[in-house]
């Protein structure tokens, strides 16, 4: 029992409730900042505890698993919560100068706190139905943030986003029902034990596919990616940066958790077959979409899809190195993708448009923004010593070790495509003659306030690159924990006797 596990959920929940009570913006900003900083501190403390003492568990109301609500923090979820908090801090600092007054007054800050509740809850829950509840909480807040401002395009795209997600939530419930009907429990550790003790004769694979549709939509896995670019280009810049950096990774986390703990009956079909093909398709179609775009945000949004393919690749290979690569890649993306979208948001604020052909020459007029963009872009591509390199090399190496040479080749070629896409943005938007308007002065307080959070994220990215060895140790340990599952199961269920299951 460790009460710290619930803190990343309770702190933003309380802050969100308090934020609804005040309409004073200065106070709202202060409270949300304190809340996110607190979550970051707690998350780092939690990660340190998990590292030294093993998996941490909280039984709500002291009802032991599998009967009560359980929250579990293992190495993977603790790391994801910590990096989420970092991204959230940067996004919040960026929101202060970039949001309009109307957006701030219409509950951006409470919505953001509840979004954080949903994300952290999804990472920490040890129960498949609570995963559904936290997903819905996260989605509800994201609907609010996506529609905030009420421009024509935003309303239209948010409506589609809500509709698609509400249909897929139905699939989630159906999957939960099927699991409950088959195994009579919803606690993930208990489910893992029951699954390992019985042979479902292929039925589990059907359930696995059902959940893959749900989590794949959240993560924007091809062919369920079509909603992402449009939704992400319509919403306010600060919200989009958090969606891009963190929200799509929650889907990947859910796949990572369920496909290492629960759906491991037939990896030859689910992992090496289905997931591998989906990973390859996601990488390729995502990058092809990105290369052809002439819009800053839309190009980056398609690039999210292609990066999701890499994360899926590690799970599909289903080797310790592959899973470690996925963990590394997710935390890297949480930092770098957020930074890139913040750059796009700052460029939009400066030039008044996101169209690449109407904002040329930003490097001449707003030099520091060009520099931060270039560093973030190189980190995304995976130029050492920035953070992207180490996740990618682990994934490629894992593919080579499993003798999947074509897969490794695709991963490398897609990486070159990413380089082309981000350099295209640099060439059109930052290089060349000065085109279009400049709405924000380079020396203004506003511009500096937008640059600080981006620079902060880049410092984290460089630190992750320089401390790659430690990070790799951590990721390898996290992968071991995920793959064996024993530490997780024993932490949740305690010492138990398999024969008591009567299966």
């Amino acid at each position: 029992m460790n009460n710290l596990v619930v803190a990343p959920i309770v702190v933003p929940l309380a802050a969100g409730a308090i934020l609804m009570l005040t309409r004073r913006l200065a106070l709202q900003r202060l409270i949300s900042l304190v809340s996110v900083a607190l979550v970051l501190a707690v998350a780092l403390q939690l990660a340190a505890q998990v590292w030294t003492e093993g998996v941490q568990v909280l039984y709500a109301a002291n009802l032991a698993a599998p009967f009560g609500i359980t929250l579990v923090a293992d190495l993977t979820s603790a790391a994801f919560v910590a990096f989420t908090a970092m991204a959230a801090l940067a996004v919040l600092l960026f929101a202060f100068p970039s949001l309009t007054r109307a957006q701030e007054e219409h509950y951006f800050y409470p919505g953001f706190q509840y979004l954080l509740v949903g994300v952290n809850g999804s990472f920490l829950t040890g129960d498949i139905f609570n995963l559904f509840v936290f997903f819905e909480l996260m989605l509800m807040s994201s609907y609010l943030l996506a529609a905030l401002g009420g421009r024509r395009r935003q309303l239209r795209e948010t409506l589609k986003y809500v509709l698609i997600n509400s249909v897929v939530s139905g699939f989630f419930l159906l999957g939960v029902g099927a699991l409950y009907r088959t195994y009579g429990t919803l606690n993930m550790a208990d489910l893992a034990v029951r699954i390992s003790l019985s042979d479902s004769g292929g039925w589990l694979t059907v359930i696995a596919c059902m959940f893959l549709v749900v989590f794949g939509l959240k993560a924007a896995v091809v062919p369920l990616h079509v909603w992402l670019p449009e939704t992400y280009t319509a919403a306010p810049a600060a919200a989009v940066a958090f969606f891009a950096g963190v929200l799509s990774k929650v889907g990947i986390y859910a796949i990572l958790r369920t496909y290492t703990l629960l759906f491991v009956e037939d990896p030859a079909f689910t992992h090496h077959g289905l997931l591998l093909w989906l990973a390859l398709a996601t990488m390729i179609i995502g990058i092809v979409g990105a290369v052809g775009q002439a819009d800053f945000k839309r190009l980056l949004a398609y690039d999210i899809v292609s990066q999701i393919g890499y994360m899926l690749l590690g799970i599909a290979l289903y080797t310790p190195l592959g899973i470690a690569g996925t963990v590394l890649f997710v935390v890297h993306q949480m930092v770098v993708k957020t930074a890139l979208f913040l750059c796009a948001g700052a460029a939009e604020r400066v030039a008044g448009t996101t169209h690449l052909l109407r904002m040329g020459g930003l490097l001449t007029t707003h030099g520091p923004l060009g520099v931060t963009y270039l560093v973030a872009a190189l980190a995304l591509v995976g130029v050492p010593p920035l953070s992207g390199f180490f996740g990618k090399i682990a994934l490629v190496q894992a593919a080579l070790e499993s003798e999947r040479f074509a897969t490794a080749a695709v991963a490398i070629v897609v990486s070159l495509g990413t380089l082309y896409a981000v350099i295209k943005v640099f060439r059109l938007a930052f290089w060349g003659e000065v085109l279009g308007d400049r709405l924000v002065n380079k020396h203004s307080h506003e511009f500096r306030a937008m640059l600080i959070p981006i620079a902060g994220l880049l410092v984290v990215s460089v630190a992750m690159g320089l401390g790659a060895q430690q990070l790799h140790f951590y990721a390898a340990a996290a992968a071991d924990q995920l793959l064996s599952g024993q530490a997780y199961i024993r932490a949740v269920l305690g010492e138990f006797d398999p024969s008591s299951y009567g299966l």
Partner: protein, 115 residues
């Protein structure tokens, strides 16, 4: 009883899919909510169906002979509350979209132009 409920689920989900595939915005919204209801019944059945049986223990703490599993019922309760919230949001969002776009035809809401 299970057969009857299965047929009900089929009819409800079938109607929902039909509504989801129409071009009228309000119908699509109602369809997505109806789909949720169909799936709620399926979830209800996941604990097994024992007609007339209570989902609680008897007064002396013993388990009555046919007993309903209360867990799926609790799950549905949560799911209904969530779907109510999403329904309200969808209606509001749908109405605002109709106001701004002056149409409820889904096909004219595609839009990939640069605005």
């Amino acid at each position: 009883m299970e057969i009857l409920l299965s047929i009900t689920i089929g009819v409800v989900v079938g109607s929902a899919v039909y509504l989801l595939l129409t071009r009228e915005l309000l119908r699509v919204i109602v369809g997505s909510v109806l789909l949720g209801y169909g799936i709620n019944i399926a979830l209800f059945m996941s604990g097994g169906v024992a007609p007339g049986a209570p989902p609680i223990l008897a007064e002396d703490g013993s388990m009555p002979a046919p007993v309903m599993d209360p867990i799926p019922q609790a799950l549905i309760l949560t799911a209904i509350v969530i779907s109510l919230g999403v329904f309200a949001l969808l209606l509001a969002l749908g109405y605002r979209t109709f106001e701004d776009h002056a149409t409820t035809d889904v096909a004219s809401l595609t839009g990939v132009e640069h605005e």
